[in-house]
Amino acid sequence: MREIDVALVRDAVKEMCIKANCCLNADVYGAIKKAQAEECSDVGKNILSQLIENADLAAAKMKPICQDTGMAVVFMDIGQDVHFTGGSLSDAVNEGVRLGYKEGYLRKSVVSDPLLRVNTGDNTPAVIHYNIAEGDKVHIEIAPKGFGSENMSRIYMLKPSDGVEGVKNAVLDCIEKAGPNPCPPMIVGVGIGGNFELCAELAKRALLRPVGSHSDKEHIRQIEDELLERANRLGIGPQGLGGNTTVLGLNIETYATHIAGLPLAVNISCHVTRHSECTV
């Protein structure tokens, strides 16, 4: 049994909130640069140059890349041989978010009740996913997620007879309907299988994988490649103003499902797809 003081988790969460929001990860940055070189529309090329300039400026000044610094989504893989000390783990995570959003001059975008809509003033609570793993370490990933793109995400409860074509059509339909709203170029996370809530979580987890990475399942890898290629033929382009850069990356995660179902979730994200991770 290894003891971990929750203060360590709090401090890690705080640092990661600031870093994720100000420093665009190398995978996304590289994908924008590559797209800028290959974009065929002049307006689109110019927009992609501005995104590169924006990311450079944000990192240099430690300012948020985008003003929508999102809801903090926290994934924790906790080794089963870990014992937390020093108080509540969830409180420590939220305290880390509170400190990070305050000290990092990040926007407070959370309301305490979806209908009463009063801002909590400190961007808490976070959305926290706990997972039990083997070992005595804690792996923490933070993915602040803006809602311009979150609002364009969808769940489809497909039938087994819809098959792989049904999945492909639904993903492309979701991207096309999102159009200019989620600040294209987008990054798309797809979850297939599980049940109603798990497919959504898989789609979110797919966004944690680096842009340009691939599923280790060959049949899924093929679908990732095909959908990315077809999405970039939709013509939406940077900011929806036309071009061949609509989606920078498309990752799929899968899970077993029921004989009667083919759940599918598409989590649309933007060119400011952020994540930061560490192991305590």
């Binding site: 400026l57 948020p64 003003q67 407070k108 159009g179 600040c183 013509g235 900011q239």
Partner: protein, 182 residues
């Protein structure tokens, strides 16, 4: 065509701008997003006047990040405009001539733009750090309790945008993507 615009923007000036024009805006603009629009129009129904006269004014659909010490404002890019579609026909009727945002608008908004003479300008979504460099001064003028969603008065210099929907209803989101569809 690249056009320098100085606010306020008259109806006549708004009507002269065409979809596809690259613009650079200098002058005073106001931020307002979901909560500020809701409150403005609810107040109006109850006979409470608007905190800002909208005549010939520009609303930037945006909620800035907090300013760091010594800077006028934090990152401030556009938010998705369709969430203001329920309110924009009314604000246009009340005199608004220019909206800055990102993403599609409803036919009701476009009808009001045509009827009264107003323009919809796109700023690059997600370029909040870069766009904040164009803001020289920022002060909260109403609804301070809304935090980032309060109405901010911004003085901007050479704020870059592109006319997406003009007062004749021409719309780049409809005309441009099909050209690149394969």
């Amino acid at each position: 065509m690249k056009i320098d615009i100085t606010t306020p923007i008259t109806r006549e000036k708004a009507r002269s701008l065409k979809a596809g024009d690259i613009v650079s805006i200098t002058g005073v603009i106001y931020t307002a997003r979901d909560a500020a629009h809701k409150r403005m129009l609810e107040n109006l129904q109850n006979g409470i006047p608007l905190p800002v006269d909208l005549t010939d004014n520009t609303i930037y659909f945006a909620g800035p990040a907090p300013a760091k010490p010594g800077e006028p404002i934090g990152s401030v890019g556009p938010t998705t405009s369709y969430r203001m579609d329920a309110y924009s026909p009314k604000t246009i009727e009340l005199g608004l001539t220019c909206m800055i945002g990102k993403g599609a608008r409803s036919s009701a908004v476009i009808d009001a733009m045509k009827k009264y003479g107003a323009v919809y300008i796109g700023a690059v979504g997600g370029a909040g750090a870069l766009l904040s460099e164009c803001v020289k001064k920022c002060e909260v003028v109403a609804y301070e309790d809304l935090g980032s969603e309060a109405i901010h008065r911004l003085e901007v210099e050479n704020f870059p945008g592109i006319v997406i929907i003009d007062s004749e209803g021409n719309n780049l989101y409809d005309t441009e993507p099909p050209k690149y569809r394969k």
